[in-house]
Symmetry: C2
Subunit: 155 residues, 2 copies
């Protein structure tokens, strides 16, 4: 299962740390159109793609679904809301091409990170860097909207 080593969250882990992580990952198959989880549900699991494709999306309202990302590269991960309080999925995930995932239970990962805090420190450092990157991207998009609005008000 060298697959986990591709995931950005686990960059920098030693070989023995990777083995402990692999020990808590379970393989599960997914079918086309299957909802893996829905926005708002308790985030109990974290997933890494082994095969197939998964779409992440959010509901703007009842009529409008906004696609956020399409994941198909092995090693791509999702369900990261299970890594941080309040442990609620902020997006929905739907399988668009059948395949298989590695699933890691939130409770088991948390236990491992607490027991081996050097492993926990590395994972959380990677996770925070990723979140900061996403936050900057999203703020940039918001800035563009704001700029457009400002221009339309003053033109």
């Amino acid at each position: 299962m060298q697959l986990l080593a591709i995931c950005y969250l686990f960059e920098g882990l030693s070989e023995s740390q990777m083995q402990h992580l692999t020990g808590i990952a379970k393989e599960t198959s997914i079918q086309k159109d299957q909802w893996i989880f829905q926005e708002g549900q308790e985030a109990k699991q974290f997933f890494v793609i082994k095969k197939g494709a998964v779409e992440l999306l959010t509901k703007v309202d009842d009529k409008l679904e906004l696609p956020i990302a399409m994941l198909r590269d092995p090693g791509s991960c999702f369900g990261t809301s299970s890594l941080s309080a309040p442990y609620v999925y902020s997006l929905s995930a739907r399988c668009t091409e059948q395949g298989s995932l590695l699933a890691i239970e939130k409770t088991e990962l948390e236990k491992l990170m607490q027991e081996e805090c050097d492993l926990g420190y590395i994972i959380m450092t990677n996770w925070a860097a990723h979140l900061l990157d996403r936050l900057k991207e999203t703020r940039q998009e918001l800035k563009i909207h704001f700029k457009t609005l400002f221009k339309s008000m003053h033109s």
Copy 2:
């Protein structure tokens, strides 16, 4: 310096961990209208407010500054870009009321977190939870803009 204990990043640290952290914090005074740092600069320090007020802002373009937050509560922190790669301030910080700050050097904090990974794990866990919260908030704002745009296109 029980001040650091108020900051959300250090929630859950033991008394001895707090002492080690206090050991690397240095008090510095700030004057009205002083720029503490500017957006885009290398993020070398992290700050906690002791007294006075600091405004965080971003430049939309040369003519337009967008205020993001006004910090005046003791224990409020900023300059958190120094906690995660690529270590670049994403906002500017300007003092709006003279006072004093506790400054922690990025390199010293990183050294402490690596040496005491249980402390590092707690701080990074708090930081990631905060970032996830901010990201959800910003995505929510973007959703509202998108909804408004969608309605205006279909009305």
